[in-house]
């Protein structure tokens, strides 16, 4: 599956496209499939989400698991500070 992600302009918060809007939580992320490029282009044109990108992920029972460590760290928070980031809210 493919996910659309980026960081909110005002806060820098990591967000994931959930099909209708942006969620802070990776487990809400929707498979954008073949719509990915169009969604990405629209996101870039709006200039409200920075570093927007499509990332590959695998579906799991716990939700999408991004292929790269980079995106997994973005989805959770620093591995050396489990008290910080989205992981601390869960």
């Amino acid at each position: 599956m493919r996910l659309l992600t980026g960081n909110v302009l005002e806060t820098g918060d990591v967000v994931w496209w959930d099909g209708t809007g942006w969620s802070r939580h990776l487990h809400d992320a929707a498979d954008v499939g073949a719509d990915g490029e169009a969604l990405l282009a629209a996101t870039l044109a709006a200039e409200r989400i920075n570093d927007a990108a499509l990332v590959d992920a695998a579906p799991t029972a716990d939700g999408p698991r991004p292929r790269t460590m980079r995106e997994r760290v973005r989805g959770a928070g620093p591995s050396v500070r489990r008290d910080l980031g989205v992981q601390a809210d869960v």
Partner: protein, 545 residues
């Protein structure tokens, strides 16, 4: 310490206003992110993995207690209660909101601090020796010259869109505690013919993708002319540095491609044009700045005696305390490397405590080191025990300076958008492996440096043992290098062989160190000296054999 006058303050305040306006224009979509990015970068604001990161300059590594309290305030008010001291005498905060950044900058300005030119293709924070003004071996305090460089380089109209970033370091001792040979320009204050002060000028050092040691382009430039000389170096670089390839854009590549001799000839020719233009600040300006770095009001009756009765204190004394030029005083290094901690991180509470201790014991002054520790530069020997006891309460008295657990590590993939692999967990696991102080002292001086990508913020090229995180098909992997040094005996570490997994690299480091213990001539031969004597064969055999 240098204190802003009305001119300095007005310039920094204007910068805050300008940045507030730029942020407002971006938030209103009046400018695109592509247009805004270089503007925020020139104010030290990056977008990292989890949020914006703000890098604040600590010019030449000197902070007042008041400034340290401001850093603690910033950690609490705008971040998550901590900050990260970097390898270039800056501090970084990892959880900044763009919309709040202008207020943050305004708060910083009230403490005479800023984030100007801590990123971007411009002249970055001027770094220096953390022992400046206190070291027994310096020819003069280098910081007034560093402050002049700070002012000269701030908003330099010709050099704000260079081919690439540009880093300058200034020292005044033969012992190099600022890695000047690994900077774009390294300046060493020396006494020249007749005893006059001037600078030996190194150009073209650097780490990153193509590490190089700097070349001496001039043995002596009188202090009254070093600004115009730097201007000439920057002019040659701005005109002829490569702009076609970001990886070849640093001045080291220009020096390498031209050759040091031809590069020097061009600089000298340019300087002949520029020197008569009156670019150098007058001696009166140097004198004005130097007066603000006057010697502290030392206690002339301070005793040289120290009670070593507490063995834990004695360990710290032997490892983290250095001689001071003033009788009765010493230089104390505060380790930000507790075993299992995050190298260079300090909590707001620790920052406040250190500010209080600086006020009580060190004339209200704190230094930041390129190896991510802090220093109280002027402490009465009679106060060392009280200082140590207070530091120990806050986990700030680890007696490990320059030992195997005093590891430099960049933020790595836990925070950094550029990283390929995590650095901090590797540093933590090595420190935990060697947690025994007896073992650390038996190994002796050993500088391990960990970078999470080729950009080398963790100085792995300059590590006695260097570790570089790389991406291997989506997995983190680590390369091991040996034999680097960022000191006066500068050298570049050499890759030992094939890379490792995260656990594998910790094991490999241990094998390297055990091989060193076997082949060293005795406990007095440092790891680096053993490596230079025997080469990498015994280490290869130990790791891959």
């Amino acid at each position: 310490m240098y204190s802003y006058d009305a001119y300095d303050q007005a310039i920094v305040d204007a910068r805050v206003d300008e940045f507030r306006d730029q942020v407002a224009r971006r938030l209103a979509n009046e400018i695109t992110e592509d247009q805004f990015k270089p503007l925020r970068l020139m104010n030290g604001l990056y977008l990292q993995l989890h949020a914006y990161m703000l890098r604040i300059a600590i010019p030449y590594g000197t902070l007042s207690a008041k400034q340290m309290r401001m850093l603690a305030y910033v950690a609490r008010r705008y971040d998550r209660g901590y900050g990260h001291f970097t390898t270039r005498q800056n501090i970084q905060y990892n959880w900044i909101k763009l919309a709040e950044a202008p207020d943050l900058m305004a708060d910083l300005a009230t403490a005479e601090m800023h984030a100007i030119q801590t990123s971007g293709n411009c002249i970055r924070n001027i770094s220096s020796d953390q022992f400046a003004g206190a070291a027994a071996d310096e020819v003069a305090d280098p910081r007034p010259y560093a402050e002049l460089l700070r002012q000269w380089s701030s908003f330099h109209p010709e050099f704000s869109y260079l081919p690439r970033k540009f880093k300058i370091a200034v020292i005044a001792s033969d012992t190099d505690r600022a890695a000047i040979q690994l900077h774009d320009i390294g300046l060493q204050l020396v006494r020249g013919p007749g005893g006059n002060l001037g600078f030996r000028v190194y150009v073209g050092g650097g780490m990153g993708r193509t590490p190089m040691i700097g070349h001496v382009v001039r043995d002596f430039i009188p202090v009254g002319q070093y600004l115009s000389y730097c201007e000439a170096i920057l002019r040659v670089y701005n005109r002829y540095g490569r702009r076609d390839n970001i990886y070849k854009a640093r001045i080291k590549i220009l020096v390498h491609e031209l050759g040091a001799v031809e590069f020097t000839r061009q600089v000298e020719a340019e300087w002949a044009e520029m020197e008569p233009l009156g670019l150098d600040a007058p001696a009166a300006e140097y004198d004005r700045i130097r007066a603000q770095f006057a010697e502290p009001d030392y206690d002339l009756a301070a005793s040289d005696g120290i009670d070593r009765g507490d063995p834990d204190f004695a360990l710290w004394l032997d490892q983290n305390v250095h001689p001071h030029k003033q009788p009765g005083y010493a230089i104390a290094t505060i380790s930000l490397k507790p075993v299992g901690g995050i190298p260079g991180d300090a909590t707001a509470e620790q920052m406040d405590l250190i500010a209080d201790l600086a006020d009580r014991y060190a004339f209200g002054e704190i230094r930041v080191t390129h190896s991510q520790n802090l220093v109280l530069a002027h402490v009465r020997k009679a106060d060392l025990y009280s200082l140590w006891a207070a530091l120990a309460e806050a986990d700030l008295a680890t007696p490990n300076l320059d030992l195997v657990t005093d590891i430099i590590a960049c933020p790595g993939l836990d925070y950094c958008a550029l990283a390929n692999a995590r650095s901090i967990p590797v540093a933590q696991q090595i420190a935990e492996r060697f947690a025994s102080l007896d073992r650390q002292h038996d190994i002796g001086e050993l500088k391990i440096k960990v970078s999470g990508c080729i950009n080398a913020c963790g100085h792995h090229h300059a590590g006695h043992i260097g570790i570089l995180g790389v991406d291997r098909k989506g997995e983190e992997a680590y390369q091991l290098s040996l034999g680097g040094s960022g000191a006066e005996d500068a050298s570049l570490a050499k890759i030992l062989g094939p890379g490792f997994s995260e656990a594998g690299v910790v094991d490999a480091v241990e094998k390297v160190i055990e091989a060193y213990r076997t082949v060293r001539t005795g406990p007095d031969e440092r790891f680096l000296d053993t490596y230079r004597r025997v080469g990498d064969a015994p280490f290869k055999a130990a790791v891959y054999g």
